[in-house]
Subunit: 234 residues, 4 copies
C-alpha cells in the first residue's frame, strides 16, 4: 500500500494586488440574520497576508446565487474564494471536503423554490473536492483552541449548490484528492455555527472571525496540504 | 410546450435465473459482531421478486474489500448489488446517496491500515451516485413504519471505500442524478444501525431484515426513482 | 444478462409558464354541493412545483361535460389534467386506474339523460389507462396519513364518461400499463369522498385539498411510476 | 343524443354437436375449496339448450391458467365459454363487463407469483368487453329471484388475468359495447359468491348452479343484448 504522491499546488507569496473573496448568505427560513454574512462582512476591507478581503452577500436562492457568485468572480478576479454558510445544527467550524451535483431542498429557498433531486448542473460531474488545504486549516484552527472539523457533506440546499457552482467555475479537478492539480484559483466552502441569540449550538462572532482569518491565511500560504486524519467511519 | 416522452414504468418481471448480491462486513474496531453481516446473512438463499439472494461477508480492510467484492461480482453475476455496513452512530436505515474518492481513516482497519486522504482510486472520478431508486426505497421503508433516511455521506472509512469501488466497477455515470444512465447493473450502499446489545441507538434484526427486503424489492421493480424530498440543509 | 438501460429519474424542473388543470363537477342527484368542485376550487390560482393551478367546474351531463373539458384544454393548454368527482360510497381518496368505453346510468344526469350501454365514443378503444404515476401518488398519500386506494373502476356515469373523454383526447396509449408511452400530456381521474354534512363516509375539505396537492406534485415530478401492490382480487 | 345501433350477433338455435365450456378455479390463498369449481363441476356432462357442458378446473396461477384455457379451447372447440371465479367479498352473482390488461396481485398465486403492475399481455389492448348478453343474463337472474349484478371490474388477480386472456383469444372487438361484432365465439366471466361454510356473504350451491344454467341459456339463445340499466355512479 503505497500512497500516491499528490501533485502539490504552489501558491501564495504575498502580492498586494491580490484579492480574497469571502461570501456569506442572507438570512433564510424566516430568520433575521445569517451568521455567515455577519462573519465575513466583519473582515471586509481587511488585509490578510497581503491580500485584500472583499466580502459579499449571496442570496439564499437556487436561481440567483451561482449567477451572483459568477459576477463577483469576474468583478474581483480573486486569487482565493471561500464561500461560507450558516449550519444551524453544527457546533464546530466545518470545513467542507466535497460538493455534490444535487439539489434536494427540505425547505423553500428565499424565492420559494424547493427543487427535489435536480442536478445543480445538468450533465455535470457527480462531485468536486474543495481545492483548499483543508487538513492544514483544520489543524491550525484546533491549535488556536477553536472547535473545528472536516465535513463530508455540505447538505443538498443552497450552500452545496453554491459550493458546487464555485468548484465547477474554478475547473477544479474531479480527481482524487483535494488541492490536487488546482489549475487556476483555490476555493472551497466553510459552514459556520450560529451566533449567540440564534439558538444552540453557537459560537461567538469574534471566534468565527478568528477562524476565517486562520483559514484564509492557511489557504494563501500553505502550498500543499498535510496528512492529518479527520475522516468519519459513517 | 412538449414534455418529453416517458419511459415504461413496468419493469423486472420475475426471472428465476437472476441473483441479488447483498454484502455485509465482518466485525471491526474490537467488536464481536457486525449488524450488517447478521442482517444480510439472514436473507441468504431467500427469493425476492423471483431473484435469489446471495449474502457474502466482506473484510473490513482497505486492502482486500474491493478485491473480494470484485470476485463476488464475477462469480455471481448479480443483477443487483447492495452493500451494507454498520453505522454505530445512526438510528435509522441510512440509504447512501453518493460515494466519494477518498480514504481518511480515524481508526485502523482489520489489517492495521489507516490511510489519510488517499484516493480510493488514483485519478478516479470525485464521486459516484448510487444507481438505486433511493427515494422510492425511503418512502416504502417509512410507509412500513421503519425509521429511514437518505444519507449524503457514507463516511471516509471502509464502507465508503467499498461503495466507491462498487460504483466504479458498475461504471455508473458520474452524472447528476442517482439511477441515471445506469448502464449495466444497479448498486448502492445502505448503512444499518447496530443491533440490540451493541449499544444505543439500535434496531431489531427482524426490522433490519424487513428493511432490506423492501429495499431489494424496490431496487428490482422500480424502473426509476420518484421525487420525494429528503435532503439536508447542511 | 443485460438489464435494459434505465431512463432519467429527474424530471419536471419548475417552469412558471406551465398550467395544471383540475376539474370538479357541479352538484347532481338533487344535492346542493359537490365535494370535488369545493376541493379543486380551493386550489385555484395556487402554484405547485412552479405550475399554476386552474380549477374549473364541469357540468354533470353526458351531453356537455367532454365538450367543456375540450374547451378548457384548448384554452389553458395544461401540462397536467386531473379530473375529480365525488364518490358518495367511498371513504378513501380513489385514484382511478382505467376509463372504459361505456355509459350506463343508474340515475338521470343534470339534463335528464340516462343512457344505458351506450359507448362514450362509438368505435373507440374499449378502455384507456390513466397516464399518471398512480402508485407513487398512492404511496405518498398514505405516507401523509391520508386514506387512499387504487380503484379499478370509475363507474359508468358521467365521471367515467369524462375520464374516458379526457384520455381519448390525450391520445394515451391503449397499451398495457399506466404512464406508458404517454405522448403528450399526463391526465387521469380521482374520486373524492363526500364532505362532512353530506353523509357518511366523509373526509374533511383540508384533507381533500392536501391530497390533491400531493397528487399534483407527484404527477408533475415523478417521471415514471413505482411498483407498489394495490390491486384487488375481485 | 342518438344511441348508435349495436351490431347484433346472431347465435344459437340448438345444435347437439355444440359444446359449452365452463371453467372454475382450484382453491387459493390457503382455502380448501373454491365455489367456482364446485358450481361448474356440478354441471359437467349436462345438456343445456342442446349443448353439452364441459367443466374444467383452471389453476390459480398467472403462469399456467391462460395456457390451460388455450388447451381447452383447442380440445373442445366450444361455442360458448364462461369462466367463473370465487369472489369472497361479493354477495351477488357478478357478471363481469370488462377485462383489463393489468396484473396487480395483493396475494401470491398458487405458485407464489405476485406480479405488480405487469400487463397480462405486453402491448395488448387496454381492455376487452365480455361478448355476452350481460344485461339479459342479469334480468333473467333477477327474475328468477337470484341476487345478481353487473360488475365493472374483475379485479387485478388471476380471475381478470384469465378473463383478459380469454377475450384476447376470442378476438373480441375492442370496440364500444359488449356483444358487439363478436366474430367467433361468445365468452365472458362471472364471479360467484362463496358457499355456506366459507364465511359471509354466501349463496347456496343449488342457487349457484341455477344461476349458471340461466346464464348459459341466455348466452346461447339471446341473439343480442337488451337495454337494462345496471351501471354504477362510482
Amino acid at each position: 500500500m503505497s500512497p500516491a504522491p499528490l501533485a502539490r499546488s504552489v501558491n501564495a507569496s504575498a502580492d498586494t494586488s491580490k484579492t480574497v473573496l469571502l461570501t456569506g448568505f442572507d438570512a433564510f427560513d424566516g430568520a433575521s440574520v445569517n451568521s455567515s454574512w455577519l462573519a465575513v462582512s466583519a473582515l471586509h476591507g481587511r488585509t490578510i497576508d497581503g491580500c485584500e478581503i472583499v466580502a459579499a452577500r449571496l442570496p439564499t436562492t437556487f436561481a440567483n446565487s451561482i449567477e451572483e457568485l459568477a459576477r463577483l468572480l469576474v468583478l474581483h478576479q480573486p486569487t482565493l474564494i471561500i464561500c461560507t454558510g450558516q449550519a444551524g445544527n453544527r457546533s464546530a467550524i466545518s470545513i467542507e471536503r466535497i460538493a455534490i451535483n444535487i439539489n434536494d431542498a427540505r425547505i423553500p429557498d428565499n424565492l420559494g423554490a424547493q427543487p427535489v433531486d435536480q442536478p445543480v448542473m445538468e450533465g455535470g460531474n457527480a462531485a468536486y473536492f474543495a481545492s483548499l488545504p483543508i487538513k492544514s486549516m483544520l489543524l491550525k484552527l484546533q491549535n488556536a483552541g477553536l472547535k473545528a472539523e472536516i465535513s463530508q457533506t455540505a447538505g443538498t440546499f443552497v450552500c452545496n449548490h453554491v459550493f458546487y457552482g464555485l468548484m465547477q467555475m474554478l475547473k477544479a479537478s474531479a480527481g482524487a484528492g483535494h488541492a490536487v492539480e488546482l489549475q487556476i484559483r483555490r476555493g472551497g466552502f466553510i459552514h459556520l455555527p450560529c451566533l449567540p441569540g440564534q439558538g444552540e449550538p453557537y459560537m461567538t462572532l469574534s471566534n468565527l472571525v478568528s477562524a476565517l482569518e486562520i483559514c484564509v491565511s492557511s489557504a494563501l500560504l500553505d502550498s500543499c496540504d498535510i496528512a492529518y486524519g479527520a475522516g468519519h467511519i459513517s
